[in-house]
Symmetry: none
Subunit: 188 residues, 4 copies
Amino acid sequence: MRADARRNLGKIVEAAAAVMAERGPAAPMELIARRAGVGVGTLYRRFPDRAALLAAMGEHYVHSLAEALDRAVEEEPDAWSALRAFVLWVGDTGRGVLAAALAGVPEEETVGPGFVEIRRRWLERFTGLVEQAQADGRMRADVGAEDVVALLNLFACHPDSLPPRVAARPAWFLGLMLDGMGAGAAQG
Amino acid sequence: MRADARRNLGKIVEAAAAVMAERGPAAPMELIARRAGVGVGTLYRRFPDRAALLAAMGEHYVHSLAEALDRAVEEEPDAWSALRAFVLWVGDTGRGVLAAALAGVPEEETVGPGFVEIRRRWLERFTGLVEQAQADGRMRADVGAEDVVALLNLFACHPDSLPPRVAARPAWFLGLMLDGMGAGAAQG
Amino acid sequence: MRADARRNLGKIVEAAAAVMAERGPAAPMELIARRAGVGVGTLYRRFPDRAALLAAMGEHYVHSLAEALDRAVEEEPDAWSALRAFVLWVGDTGRGVLAAALAGVPEEETVGPGFVEIRRRWLERFTGLVEQAQADGRMRADVGAEDVVALLNLFACHPDSLPPRVAARPAWFLGLMLDGMGAGAAQG
Amino acid sequence: MRADARRNLGKIVEAAAAVMAERGPAAPMELIARRAGVGVGTLYRRFPDRAALLAAMGEHYVHSLAEALDRAVEEEPDAWSALRAFVLWVGDTGRGVLAAALAGVPEEETVGPGFVEIRRRWLERFTGLVEQAQADGRMRADVGAEDVVALLNLFACHPDSLPPRVAARPAWFLGLMLDGMGAGAAQG
DNA sequence: CATGAATGAGGTTTCATTCAT
DNA sequence: GATGAATGAAACCTCATTCAT
């Protein structure tokens, strides 16, 4: 029954992503279970609390982040434009689904080592990109990769918890923030 | 009992601000009432909705916003620096709740004309400042006053609903935003 | 201030009738007070409880009942048709307002002697009419005036507490009941 | 847990009938749950609305109505006396709650198709009986089966919402109604 | 193991009623 | 006297979570 279990796990995580995209991060557990086609009990067996479920979502979706990062690096001429392309892609695409992947993990014990490790590796590559952009003289040195991640996190969350104007075009606002990070933009 | 009532009204609005700063904008009405030292009934008598309460908070605090705006205009040499000073003041002062209140006026009927009108006037002056900064060639023309307000709102809201890194220094991120709005920052 | 007080009393009773016609007999006291243009306190000073208010409504409206009865007796050729005319008039007109006047008084102490006495006199005349109809051989002898009053009471109450079909045409159903009271209708 | 659940379902419906007989159709849900020996949550899980609960009561009790109708048809010589016997049985048996349930099916979606269908079948047979009585020349043609049901409903509902005199002997008043429906009773 | 039933705490809201002004 | 503010009990409903089957 290992196969079933694994399949269930995937279904739950996907259901959670779908439901949370619609109803926000506090969506009823029952709804998620129902959408996944399992009982609440099963959901709770796998994920002791909401945090664990979020972490699992992160683990599940961090791969698509990695791919998008690869794509951006490949297609863009330099680190800074790759960074920009990636950030805007998240703004356009993510909307809540990716937020979990970007967010820090609430309690490291509740998740298996999987997510922590994968996220660490992804962050390493992302940091590399940032540092390259800075070395290229295109990006301010006082901005860290974690700052960018935090912003992605903020702008990619459930639309209902954003000011309507921001929810309407998150990528545009992310672009604004990026512009603030460009070399020479600092005025403070 | 006019005096008592007015006093209570003030207490309620202040309690709401305090509680919402701690527990977010969805904090239990009962808690707010308790903190204000009144019964739930009293709270509901004054503010039929949560929206009405938020509006009242807005009305209550919009004055300090107006003052800060005046101060900034007075003390700073030009519109752009005044804008900057004002935005950073909001970010620093933890007046987040009030910024939030400024943004979301759900339905104009639920609030008395007071708040709507006051906000309109304040926004008018704020818009004037933005336009001046743009006319001075210091600020990008494609950014509207409402956009600034929206971001002010986003960055100054309840810390628990922000990524920790952002919650830790909202003003820094607001600075980033301002830098992104400076003339010539646009790269998109 | 006797005049004011009396005036207030009338206003309250009329407001109660109006509000209860709209929102049923359990309408909020505050609403009634507001409609009457007085504070709740005043309402409670005059009428210690809802029952007292209902009784007062009865006292107030029993006069129109008396008038309608007079009219029916005058215009109709005999007691039985007068009774019918009166009953149908109530069915068409009353809708809740008259119910209180028709209903028994909950606790005789709460009302002044006014209502009890007036209602007694009205009932006496109504009973006379019933007895005359029976003496004329037009109405079953086993039906009492109080039974008719009870039916009036039932059918004239707030529409929301009647089956929709009955609420739609109460007079028709009252007519049916009257038909059952005609001499010779008994089949049981 | 299928068995438990089914048992609980029955207990809830019976509790609802009992409590509503005592405290009217607006009796607190909590009370019903308590009486059934379950938590409020359970009640709401099964019956999202009060309407759904009423419908379930209807479905639960419509069977005894059907049986009584059968019995009446069997034992009485003709349609009209069967109708009479049935109506008086309902009036006598204090099955008021169930009659009420029969009447008000607020929205067909909230109830499963069960109740709607069962009620439809029962009403069909009842209508047949009425039409037969009319064809036999024993019953007025201008009275429909739905009218009878409406009055059944009115007279057999919760005693506290009836005038005391009616509550004391509902069957007698139903008899009056029947007499009014007899052929030749119409006088209007 | 999976299931989904059951629980009850927690939040919202409405009003009857009292009482300070 | 009149007022309407304040109170709190009561009802509604929703979910997170546990646990019998």
